[in-house]
Structures are given as structure tokens and as C-alpha cells.
């Protein structure tokens, strides 16, 4: 947040809190009130609140990431540009991207691999409809569609193989129909009918999955219905109440599945992208935030966050999704599952929320989630630290974690990723800025003797009271100094975060020029972070070579979250596939090998992307046979007919 807007929001927030405090005596039975609201809730909010249109393809790409109007391209002059008006980077020229791109991948702007321009409708198989089911749905007044475009849009997530196939115009098995419930009772109806007519339901939220979770199982012979939760967005602000335990822990009741976005305009925040999306904006207007900001947050849905055990970049302050959730309501073939109260912690056997969190759409549809909310931070500040090498950087992050003084976000990019980030520097407007940049570079590389091929950068984001932020900042920079780190300014920090939001758009650019890539992640104990990063990168390089990739691949790593006991490591991996017959297969083999390497080096199967179908084969190894059996028996009890038949996870 820019400081100019923060003072007004802060005042607003104070007003609200004051209001709550006045009301406080009447709030004695707040939870009862909340229950009542829920009962009458579903359709009470104005319908204009729905943020995402049913026909998403009208504003979003059918074969790539994000909005149709926003994309990277190389102009005739060979300069990279980001089109559209939505983002801070939009309309800007990125002068160094071309050289980086060609130099790193051995790509050439003359060698293009364009995508099929539009969906070939005849390639989509006709729907296999269960007529009685369709009729019952229609009788219940639900909106359905079996338009091929709608179905194709919901047949995939954003795994490389999925997007690659779309770009080539290859369409596999797609859902036979799409249904849009608009409230909890709609969902109950749909699930009931699905059980009655034995059709397969696949819940669809934001469609940002990277684990093949949305792929229709090939072996499924029943009619597959995509259950699109986008029209259920509904946020109840009038029910804001203060939990009595502390004055600042606010619980907001949100009946919503999509935290997606509708109104998009260039944000006043210093961040490149508009984060001012609909429910978030509404919350912000009232002076609150959830604090959950996964990199896909523009598009991903609240239900999806719950179903995949999502993690947000500011988890150090706000926690991951499992820490944020107070209450969940889910419709399953067996009925509705929920807890009876909003108690902050319960000792009632294993937490039933943990059957739902990470269930990946195999058990039911999440219809309501109560999240904790927090007052908007008064002040936000980016920062960055340059380290002479990755080892020192990791040691510093570990120390920060040990002292438990991690800022809202702290990430360590390796050298390659730092250089990547640099390639995204927009054209500088003044001679002075470029002179300053030159000076900084000189200071770090010549004066301080950092090797430009080894140095790496930690990006920081502080949030909170202004005074505390400054104090906190000093503490972190002091620790960094002990590990040879030099403060490197806000700009570098910001650009680091920008990278994670535009990376998916950049992948589409790469794919126009024979470059394919993807990201994957893991979590690992501190003492293995370095070894894991090095071994996985080397494994990628070796596998690519053995599989005939003609150009050196680019593996990047980033320590992206810190915990007491370890860290989350994020990898990007891309290569130029010219000369390969089946690049996607090669890619998949390499990613498979990389995952094996991760597991062999003490990393987890996934930190937050989930298992889906992509990583299913390692589940048993990851959680033991008994563990898998437990999960299977829950599935068997909740959904004996396998109505939620996306075959993820188990």
C-alpha cells in the first residue's frame, strides 16, 4: 500500500473499530446472530456482487494465463512489451528482456511457435449428457450450459501439458456440461441430483490448478459435470463482529467461493498488479484484510484455497489457509459437514477441517468459509538485501526464522532468478535513475567485491505500524549484515514480487518462441535447503542433457517461505525445445525426475500446490500405506458412489 492512501484507510478502520466497540454490549450473542444471518443469507446480497462472468472466455484467454488483453509480446523492433491496462507493468517497454531471453535460452525471435488462434469447435467431442439429470437441474432453476467453449474452459488447469495441448488445438476429454450454483442450497440440490442420477461432479473454482486436478479422468464413463462456483461470491459485511477474546482478532463471515476479481483498474499500490480485487476491495474499504495472498490470488477461489491447503505470501503474519479458517461448510454426498460453533480451537478428536483442507475436490463442495480477518496494516514497506552467495542468504533466512522475526514476506532468490528479475526492469525514464543504478551496481560488485554471477537477493515486505515496521526492518537488516548482506533498496524487492505475478504471463511469451517451462515447489528442513536446491538443479540439467534437449535448461530456485523447522523452496524450470519431437513428454520426464530428487533429498511432495493427479504416485511413499488407507476410508464413507470423481490425491 502506498503511504498516501494508508492514512485514510487507517482512519476509516479506526472509525469502524470504534463503531464495533460501541455496539459491543449488544454483541453478547454475536455467534447466534451470525447463524441467523447465514440462514437467510444466500440471495440477500445484491446480485451485482458476482465478480466473474459465467462465460469467462469473454475476458480471459482460453489457451493461456489470465486476461485476454494482458500479454507479453516482442514488438517489431524486438522490444518486449506488456499490453493492456490492468497492471502496473501494462503498457511499459522492457528493454532488457529480449537479450536475457535469447541469451539464456538460445531462443531467437525469428523462430516462432505460435498457438492455434481460436478453438476449433469440431475438435470438442459432443457432450455425453445424462438427460434426466439435466432435466431435474433445469426444473430446479439452475443455470447450465453444454456450450463447447464453456466446457473446454473448465477442462484444464495450468499445467504445462494442459496449456501446451490447448495451444496446439488438441482437446482431450472435457466436462459434458457446466452448472453454476449461486448459493449453498443450490449446491445441495446439485449434489443430491448427482447422487440420484449417478453423474460425476468436478468442482471448479478459479481454474489455476497446477497438479492436473481439473483434468477429466479418462476412465470416467459417466457424464462429467463441472460445478463452477464463481457465481456464489457473496460477502456478508453487515455481520462483522468482534470476537470477544481480543480486540483485534476479527472474524468475518464470508459466504463466498471466489475471491476473484471483477473491477480491475490500475492500482495505486506500488505493486505491479492490481490486487484490488472484489471481495478484497470490499474488505479493504472497511479497513480489513484476510492477509491471504497466494500468487494466483487474482484468479483463484476461496474454496480452492481450502481444497488445496493454500499458502499465501504473507503467511508469516497471517498464517496459511489452515490458520485462517475458523469454520467451513461443505456439501458432500453424505450431507453437509460443519462444526457447531466458531470456537478458535477445539479438542474434539482430530480436526474435521483437516479432512476438508487439501481434499482437492474429492469429498464435496465447500460452500461457506469463515475466515479470520485483520485490520489493514497501517504501513507497508518493501526492501531487499544482496548477499554474496546463496549459502549466506540461506544462513541469514534461517537465522531470521530462528529469531522468529520474519517480516510479512521474506524470499531469497538465487542468482539466476535475480538476473531474470532484472530483465523485467522497465525502461527508465530519466538519465539520473540509470546513473544511480549504475552506481549501485558498481558499489556492490566492485567496491564490495560481490561476484555478479553468485550474488543473490532476498526480497522483503514489512507490514504493520509505521514505528514497528521501521524497528523490525532494522532488526532484519542487522541480522542480514552478519551474513554479509547489504541493503539493496525497495525497488529490487518490489520487482522480485512482481516476478511471481507475471511469471505465468511470461510462460505464454516463452511458448511463442519454443520455450516451455513450469514451476514446482516443496518444503524441506533448514539443514537440507542448500543441498536440495543444488541437487535438483543439477538433476534437471543432467536429465535434459540425457533426453536430448539441445540448449542448456534454466532451473531457478527461491526460498519462498520460512518456518521454524524449515523452508518452502520454489523452482522454476524452462528450456528451449527446438529439435525435440515430443517436448512435453521430455518436460514431464524431467519434472518427474526432479520430484524424485526432491523426495530423495528430504523434501516434501508438495508445500501448497497439492497432489492432484500429477503427484499421486508418490502419495503412499509420502504418508505411508496406513495414512493413505485412512484417507481412502474417509472417501469411501463420504462418497461411496465416487460422485466427486476427479480422482485426485488418492
Amino acid at each position: 500500500m502506498a503511504s498516501n492512501s494508508s492514512s485514510s484507510t487507517a482512519q476509516q478502520r479506526l472509525r469502524i473499530i470504534a463503531g464495533h466497540l460501541q455496539k459491543r454490549p449488544e454483541d453478547e450473542n454475536a455467534s447466534v446472530a451470525a447463524q441467523e444471518c447465514k440462514a437467510e443469507a444466500p440471495r440477500s446480497e445484491p446480485s451485482s456482487a458476482t465478480p466473474v462472468p459465467r462465460r469467462r472466455q469473454e475476458i480471459m484467454k482460453w489457451n493461456g494465463w489470465g486476461y485476454s488483453d494482458s500479454r507479453f509480446l516482442f514488438t517489431k523492433k524486438g522490444q518486449a512489451e506488456f499490453t493492456g491496462k490492468r497492471y502496473r507493468l501494462s503498457g511499459l517497454i522492457l528493454p532488457s528482456l529480449k537479450d536475457w531471453f535469447e541469451g539464456t535460452f538460445g531462443a531467437n525471435l525469428q523462430h516462432r511457435s505460435p498457438a492455434t488462434p481460436s478453438l476449433n469447435l469440431s475438435a470438442v467431442a459432443p457432450p455425453n449428457l445424462n438427460q434426466p439429470f439435466v432435466e431435474d437441474l433445469k426444473a430446479a432453476g439452475l443455470v447450465v450450459s453444454h456450450d463447447p467453449e464453456d466446457r473446454v474452459f473448465r477442462a484444464h488447469g495450468h499445467c504445462l501439458h494442459e496449456v501446451f495441448a490447448l495451444r496446439e488445438g488438441r482437446i482431450g476429454r472435457v466436462p459434458d456440461m457446466v452448472v453454476w450454483p449461486s448459493c449453498h442450497s443450490d449446491v445441495e440440490k446439485i449434489v443430491e441430483l448427482a447422487c440420484k442420477h449417478n453423474v460425476c461432479l468436478i468442482p471448479y473454482g478459479g481454474g489455476t490448478s497446477v497438479s492436473s486436478a481439473l483434468e477429466c479422468p479418462r476412465e470416467e464413463t459417466r457424464s462429467i459435470v463441472s460445478l463452477d462456483t464463481s457465481q456464489m461470491s457473496n460477502i456478508h459485511l453487515k455481520d462483522v463482529f468482534i470476537m470477544r477474546c481480543t480486540a483485534v482478532t476479527l472474524t468475518l463471515h464470508i459466504v463466498s467461493l471466489t475471491a476473484g476479481s471483477e473491477t480491475l483498474h490500475k492500482a495505486s499500490t506500488p505493486l505491479c498488479l492490481s490486487r484490488n480485487t472484489f471481495p478484497v476491495r470490499l474488505l479493504n474499504e472497511h479497513g480489513y484484510c484476510t492477509g491471504h495472498e497466494p500468487d494466483s490470488m487474482e484468479f483463484s477461489s476461496l474454496g480452492g484455497w481450502v481444497a488445496t491447503r493454500a499458502s499465501g505470501m504473507k503467511k508469516n503474519i497471517y498464517g496459511n489457509i489452515e490458520d485462517l479458517v475458523v469454520h467451513i461448510k461443505m456439501v458432500t454426498p453424505r450431507g453437509v459437514i460443519e462444526k457447531s460453533c466458531l470456537g478458535p480451537r477445539m479438542s474434539t478428536g482430530p480436526d474435521i477441517h483437516h479432512f476438508i483442507l487439501g481434499s482437492e475436490g474429492t469429498l464435496g463442495v465447500v460452500t461457506e468459509v469463515t475466515l479470520k480477518i485483520r485490520p489493514l496494516p497501517e504501513y507497508q514497506k518493501y526492501g531487499s538485501v544482496v548477499f554474496p552467495n546463496f549459502q549466506q542468504g540461506v544462513a541469514c533466512l534461517r537465522e531470521v526464522a530462528r529469531q522468529r522475526c520474519a517480516p510479512a514476506s521474506i524470499r531469497l532468490m538465487d542468482n539466476e532468478q535475480f538476473q531474470f528479475g532484472h530483465a523485467l526492469k522497465p525502461q527508465v525514464s530519466s538519465m539520473f535513475t540509470s546513473f544511480l543504478d549504475g552506481l549501485k551496481k558498481f558499489y556492490i560488485t566492485k567496491f564490495k567485491g560481490f561476484d555478479p554471477q553468485h550474488l543473490c537477493v532476498a526480497t522483503l515486505l514489512f507490514e504493520g505500524d509505521r514505528g514497528k515496521v521501521l524497528q523490525h526492518e532494522k532488526q532484519v537488516y542487522d541480522i542480514a549484515a552478519k551474513f554479509g548482506g547489504l541493503a539493496a533498496g525497495e525497488d529490487n524487492g518490489q520487482r522480485g514480487y512482481m516476478l511471481t505475478f507475471v511469471i505465468a504471463y511470461l510462460r505464454d511469451l516463452g511458448m511463442d518462441y519454443y520455450v516451455i517451462g513450469e514451476s514446482f515447489e516443496t518444503s524441506v528442513p533448514w539443514d537440507r535447503v542448500l543441498d536440495l536446491c543444488r541437487n535438483v538443479k543439477e538433476r534437471i540439467v543432467r536429465e535434459c542433457k540425457e533426453r536430448g534437449v539441445q540448449f542448456p535448461p534454466l532451473p531457478l530456485s527461491r526460498v519462498t517461505q520460512t518456518y521454524d523447522a524449515g523452508a518452502c523452496v520454489y523452482f522454476y524450470f524452462a528450456f528451449n525445445y527446438r529439435g525435440l519431437n515430443d517436448p512435453v513428454h521430455v518436460y514431464e520426464q524431467v519434472e518427474h525426475a526432479a520430484r524424485e530428487e526432491i523426495l530423495a533429498n528430504g523434501g516434501s511432495l508438495s508445500h501448497h500446490h497439492g497432489v492432484g493427479k500429477l503427484r499421486k504416485e508418490w502419495m503412499k511413499e509420502s504418508v505411508s500405506g496406513v495414512g493413505l488407507g485412512m484417507l481412502k476410508s474417509v472417501k469411501e464413507y463420504v462418497d461411496p458412489q465416487n460422485i466427486f470423481g476427479n480422482r485426485n490425491l488418492l
Binding site: D527, R528, D531, L532, R534, N535, E538, R539, L599, A600, N601, G602, E621
Partner: protein
């Protein structure tokens, strides 16, 4: 699986080997001094963190692993941690190398001089050097030379210096260190010293293993050690030890290294410096303690001609591909990696398997000189041969060896007789040539009056010296020879009968020769394949039939194993006939030796090789393994309890192989 492919039996003729360059040629032409002082800029490991010896010491002492063990030892023994840490520091001082370039230059100069006196040529495969140069940059390297002579590690360091490769740090036995000055010199040329046995000493093991791992992890220098653990006195490869191998592999298992390149190096000598020394040692004269004065006395060896020497750097074996599918590295996920863990059963199996395969690579790349063939023939004919017949036979054997894939260094453009006379000249001290009759020097009348025992002893020295050359080629003939003996002793020609016999013999001899555990079927098939290819056998679906022309080959192969069959029988017979209840392990060797000596003096045993303590030890190990003998600890002594029935039946089975085979020998004699 990649590693399987690496060792799958190949067509022997297709085995591609590199050419050799004589490195002494250049030395003979230019100044040794200038050579020793030349600019030395070795290729380095890409991830190298340069560090001094003192720095290395700090890293080792501060390591989590060592700190953990220090605390553990301190709480067990009650000593303060400072005290234990001090002890660890002393151990490290005793052990650590202090590689110094000046010492290397000194060695470069003196060794150039020495090698030129000793050897006609020192041949190295330069392609192997190039591969090593590549390997050194990619991943930490472990050099695994064969060990036949003290010369081995001097030569290794000398060659690496010559080719601008980083100098290795070498695990050497502590006995060297007691050599004043020389120990220090070796230390400064990169040797680090380890006690020969430190079984129970946790702290020593921790310091040692951490020291090796630190060097490896930092890519500081290649680590060099001998898989066989000690010099082979018989020139047969020894059963590999896995302790050090485990240490160098562990950083990979635990993810601290992406990969390790294991480079087997085969060093072969046309004439071994320690030749008669070894023979004496095998006959019970203990090895002289290494001392500087001893080394000076050894100066006289400088005046002798030791022919040529071959060093073959094998293809680097990637530990990662070797372990693929065999080691589940995630087994180490649940404990902090600095906590020492005993290798699990499957890890142990892998280590063993890998060690055997590496030794087999060493064997395969060992260069064999013509003399090896001649020695083999002379040993089979103790009464000597006519020179012309010897020439003919050697030529025949040469072709057989080549067909079986031997790496033979036979001069291309010289006549066979020329080559043979050359070899005979080099080894003239082992044989006598008179009037075209060549014979081992066994009947050479000694100048002074000797007892019959001394005469036998004298003969045995020559036989064992000669055997050490024959042994070099055993690995080529071993599998076909086992099959040949099995064919003779099997009750029928049925394939499974023959296989059972083969398996029995293979099992019996697996302490004697390098036979990878679990490769029985593979070995059998390899033997069948080779003999079939050579037209000796026909392998039908259920039967193995000898071809008409196969007699001489089979007879030859049988007699290759004959000394071992006889030797093992002697050991068995001794255990059945002579032992009382209280035979201690210590007394075993001398007792068997005197038993064998008695048999020889009585004329009941011709084979002198039964006197070899190496053979006796191996036989005992086999019997222990087969549970025909077991060890019982009584007080502080270990006694051997013999299951006479079991030993007897083993002896019978061996005897059957041998008796039949004897008849084969006579039939061959008749053919001649």
C-alpha cells in the same frame, strides 16, 4: 538399469581399450629439474571452495557430526567435552595430510630419476587422463587404484602432477608414518594416515570419516584409497573392503553431493619390485616393518630392470547411476544427517556389490604382459618345456586369452619367439634355460648344504613368485575354468547338474577370486558363452556337450584351477585329520603350513602353492562362510571348531573335481 548395462557381459573382442603413451619418453629427453619446477595449474572442481589445511581442520572439528560424537563420547566416558575435543584434535593432527607443492616438486624430481632407472617405460592411457580431467571438474572424484606395490601411490601422484590434475589425498596405513622423515614427506605429498584397526573407537572413526567427507564435499582434492585395503601379495585382486567406500559414498546418499565419480585405476607391472619379498611373506617370513633404513637398503632394487609399467585410468563410474534403483536415499530423511547411522542391510549389499564391480573393472583393465602367459605354462609343467614347444603353446594361449577378452600387451611387429626370449631374459632369476629347455628355477642346486625343508622352501619361493604372474591372468580364465572343472566333476552333461557343480565351486572359491555375490547365473552364462564361442562346448537346451576339438582347452582350464583345488583339499584334510579340540585361529596358518610341508616332503603333494598363507586364509574363510568351521571365543582366544563331517564332504567333492581332472591332465599329456 544403467549400472547393469555398465557391467553386462560384452563380447570380449568388442571391448574397446585406449592406447598407451610412454610418459618416461619425454622425461628422458628434457631436464627433470625444469620439469619439477614447471608451472603447475591443475584443473579444479567447479564447486571448489579453496581452503588451507588448517582451515580444513577447523571445518572438520566444528562439524555437526564431530561435535555430536564428541558430546556422545564425553557423556559415555565422563570426560569433559573439552577433553574429548582435544583428543579429536590430536587424532586429526596425527591423521591429516599437509599437501605442499614444494614436496611434490621434490618428488617430481627424484621420482623422475628413479622411474627412469627402474622402468623401461611407464605407459598411461591418455584418453583416460582426459576423461579424468573432465570428471574432476564435474564432481568430486575418488581414485581407486589397484594395489600391488608401494610404488602405486607414488606413481599415481606423479602422474597426476604430470598431467596437471589436482593431487589426491591418499588414505595410507599408519605403519608408514613410523618411517621417520619419509612419513612426513609422504604426508606433505598428500598422504593421510589411518590406523589399521580402530574397530571400537567411535571418536577415531568420527574424526576420520568426517575428514574424508569434508575433503570430498568441498571438492578440495580427489580422495584416493585402495579398495583392496592392502597390497595384494599374490597379484590376484583381493576381496574389496567397504568401510572407506561407505565413507566416500555417504555424502551422496545423504544428498550432500549430487554425484561422485569413482575412477578405477589399474596399475600393472611387468616385474614387481616386491616379488620375492611377497613370496617369502606368504611362506611365513613376516613383512619387515617399514623403516627408512629398510628403504635405503631397497636402493639396490634401483639397479635392476623392472621392465615396463602400465597405468590404465578406467571410465569414471557415476555413483549416482550405480546407485539408481538400489539405494533409497529418502531413508536418511528422518534423522538429522550429522547423526551417524550404521548402513542398513540393503546399503551394505549395495556397497559390497559396487566394490566387487569396481574391482572387476580394475581387473579387466589390467595390462598383461607375455610373461604372464609363459609363467602360466611353466607352472603347469614343473619339469620344464622345450623352448620351441613353449613358443608354440604361448602363441596358442595368447589367442585363447584374447578370445576371452584379456588385455594383452603383445608387441605387434615382433616374432613370437623374439617376444618370448625377451620375457625370459627379464625374468631370468626365476628360471633356467639350458639347451633349449626352459624350466622354473626349482631344481637349482643351492650353493650350501641345506635341509630338505629349506629346499622345499626355496622351491616354493620361486613357484609363488611365478604364480604371482599367473595370477594376473586368472580373472580372464576363471569363469570358463570353473565351468571346465564343473563339467568334469558333474555326474552328467545335464545343464543343471553342471550348473550345480559350477555353483559349488564358485561358492567354494569366492574368497579366493573376485566373484560378485549373486552373479552366479550371470557368471555361468558368461562361461558358457565364451567356451561356446571358442568352439569348446556346445550348449544345448538342457545339455552341455564337449566339442571334439575342445579337449586341450578344457584340460588347460582345469589345470589353471588345479593348485587351488589341491590347496583347499590340503586345508580340509588337515582340519579333518590333524586338528585337536583347541586349534586357535592364530595357530591355524603355521599348523596347516607344516602339515602341507610334511605332505610335500613325503612326496604325497606336488603343489607348492598349498604352502601359501593367502590360500590357507581364504580356504578357512570359505569354510567359515559355509559353516563347516566356526569360531568360538574362549577367554581372549578364538578357537576353531571343526564340523568334520561337513569338511570331509567338502573335501570329497573337491577331490572328485580334482581326480577327474587329473585324468584329464594325463590324457592331455598323452595327446602331446
Amino acid at each position: 538399469m544403467a549400472s547393469r548395462a555398465l557391467y553386462s557381459p560384452r563380447h570380449p573382442v568388442l571391448k574397446k581399450r585406449d592406447d598407451f603413451e610412454d610418459v618416461l619418453e619425454e622425461r628422458r629427453r628434457s631436464s627433470d629439474l625444469r620439469y619439477a619446477l614447471r608451472c603447475y595449474t591443475p584443473t579444479l572442481y567447479k564447486g571448489l571452495v579453496p581452503c588451507k589445511a588448517s582451515m580444513l581442520k577447523t571445518i572438520v572439528l566444528q562439524s555437526d557430526h564431530l561435535q555430536y560424537v564428541i558430546k556422545q563420547v564425553s557423556s559415555e566416558s565422563g570426560d569433559s567435552t573439552e577433553c574429548v575435543a582435544e583428543e579429536a584434535s590430536l587424532i586429526l593432527d596425527e591423521m591429516a595430510h599437509r599437501l605442499q607443492l614444494s614436496t611434490i616438486r621434490f618428488f617430481a624430481f627424484t621420482l623422475s630419476k628413479a622411474f627412469k632407472r627402474l622402468f623401461r617405460s611407464v605407459c598411461v592411457n591418455e584418453e583416460g587422463i582426459q576423461r579424468l580431467q573432465q570428471a574432476v571438474q564435474e564432481h568430486p572424484v575418488v581414485l581407486l587404484p589397484s594395489h600391488r606395490s608401494y610404488m602405486d601411490f607414488l606413481m599415481m601422484s606423479y602422474l597426476l602432477y604430470m598431467y596437471d590434475l589436482p593431487l589426491p589425498v591418499i588414505a595410507a596405513g599408519m605403519d608408514f608414518m613410523s618411517m621417520k622423515f619419509v612419513g612426513e614427506m609422504l604426508r606433505m605429498s598428500g598422504a593421510f594416515f589411518i590406523r589399521r584397526s580402530f574397530g571400537g573407537d567411535k571418536l577415531y572413526w568420527a574424526v576420520f570419516s568426517e575428514y574424508v567427507k569434508t575433503m570430498l564435499r568441498n571438492g578440495y582434492a580427489p580422495v584416493e584409497f585402495f579398495l583392496e585395503g592392502t597390497r595384494s601379495r599374490t597379484c590376484k585382486s583381493l576381496t574389496p573392503k567397504t568401510g572407506l567406500l561407505n565413507i566416500v559414498m555417504e555424502p551422496f546418499f545423504k544428498g550432500a553431493l549430487f554425484d561422485v565419480n569413482l575412477v578405477p585405476v589399474s596399475i600393472s607391472y611387468e616385474r614387481i619390485l616386491e616379488e620375492s619379498l611377497y613370496a617369502r611373506e606368504l611362506l611365513g617370513v613376516p613383512k619387515p616393518k617399514e623403516s627408512t633404513s629398510g628403504l635405503l637398503k631397497a636402493r639396490r632394487v634401483l639397479s635392476e630392470d623392472y621392465g615396463s609399467m602400465h597405468v590404465y585410468f578406467g571410465h569414471p563410474v557415476s555413483l549416482r547411476s550405480l546407485a539408481e534403483g538400489k539405494i533409497n536415499r529418502s531413508q536418511y530423511n528422518l534423522l538429522p544427517r550429522y547423526i551417524p547411522q550404521k548402513p542398513r542391510v540393503d546399503t551394505h549389499e549395495f556397497l559390497n556389490d559396487a566394490a566387487f564391480r569396481l574391482v572387476r573393472i580394475q581387473e579387466e583393465n589390467m595390462v598383461l604382459k607375455p610373461w604372464v602367459l609363459i609363467a602360466t605354462l611353466l607352472l603347469q609343467n614343473p619339469d620344464g618345456l622345450e623352448l620351441s614347444f613353449l613358443t608354440e603353446q604361448t602363441d596358442w594361449l595368447r589367442h585363447l586369452a584374447l578370445a576371452f577378452g584379456a588385455f594383452l600387451d603383445w608387441p605387434d611387429h615382433e616374432a613370437c619367439s623374439e617376444v618370448i626370449s625377451c620375457s625370459l631374459a627379464l625374468h631370468r632369476h626365476l628360471l633356467s634355460v639350458s639347451a633349449g629347455h626352459v624350466q622354473l628355477n626349482v631344481t637349482d642346486a643351492p650353493q650350501v648344504e641345506t635341509t630338505p625343508e629349506e629346499a622345499v622352501f626355496h622351491r616354493a619361493v620361486v613357484v609363488l613368485s611365478c604364480a604371482s604372474y599367473r595370477n594376473q591372468i586368472l580373472h580372464v580364465f576363471l569363469r570358463p575354468a570353473l565351468l571346465a572343472v564343473a563339467m568334469q566333476s558333474a555326474n552328467s552333461n545335464r545343464k543343471d547338474d553342471v550348473y550345480n557343480c559350477f555353483n559349488f565351486l564358485r561358492n567354494m572359491f569366492s574368497n579366493e577370486f573376485i566373484l560378485c555375490p549373486g552373479d552366479s547365473i550371470q557368471d555361468f552364462e558368461e562361461a558358457c558363452y565364451l567356451l561356446m564361442k571358442h568352439g569348446v562346448l556346445q550348449v544345448l537346451e538342457h545339455e552341455i556337450v564337449m566339442s571334439a576339438s575342445g579337449h586341450s582347452t578344457l584340460a588347460f582350464l582345469c589345470s589353471v584351477l588345479d593348485p587351488f583345488l589341491q590347496g583347499y583339499q590340503v586345508v580340509c584334510r588337515y582340519l579333518c585329520e590333524e586338528t585337536n579340540e583347541n586349534l586357535t585361529e592364530k595357530d591355524f596358518i603355521p599348523a596347516v603350513r607344516s602339515f602341507a610341508l610334511k605332505l610335500i616332503l613325503a612326496g604325497r603333494l606336488k603343489c607348492c602353492e598349498a604352502l601359501s598363507s593367502d590360500l590357507q586364509k581364504n580356504a578357512l574363510a570359505a569354510l567359515l562362510r559355509l559353516k563347516a568351521v566356526r569360531k568360538v571365543k574362549v577367554g581372549d582366544q578364538v578357537t576353531l571348531k571343526v564340523n568334520k563331517i561337513a569338511v570331509n564332504s567338502l573335501e570329497d567333492t573337491l577331490g572328485k573335481s580334482n581326480v577327474n581332472q587329473n585324468s584329464w591332465c594325463s590324457s592331455m599329456a598323452m595327446l602331446k
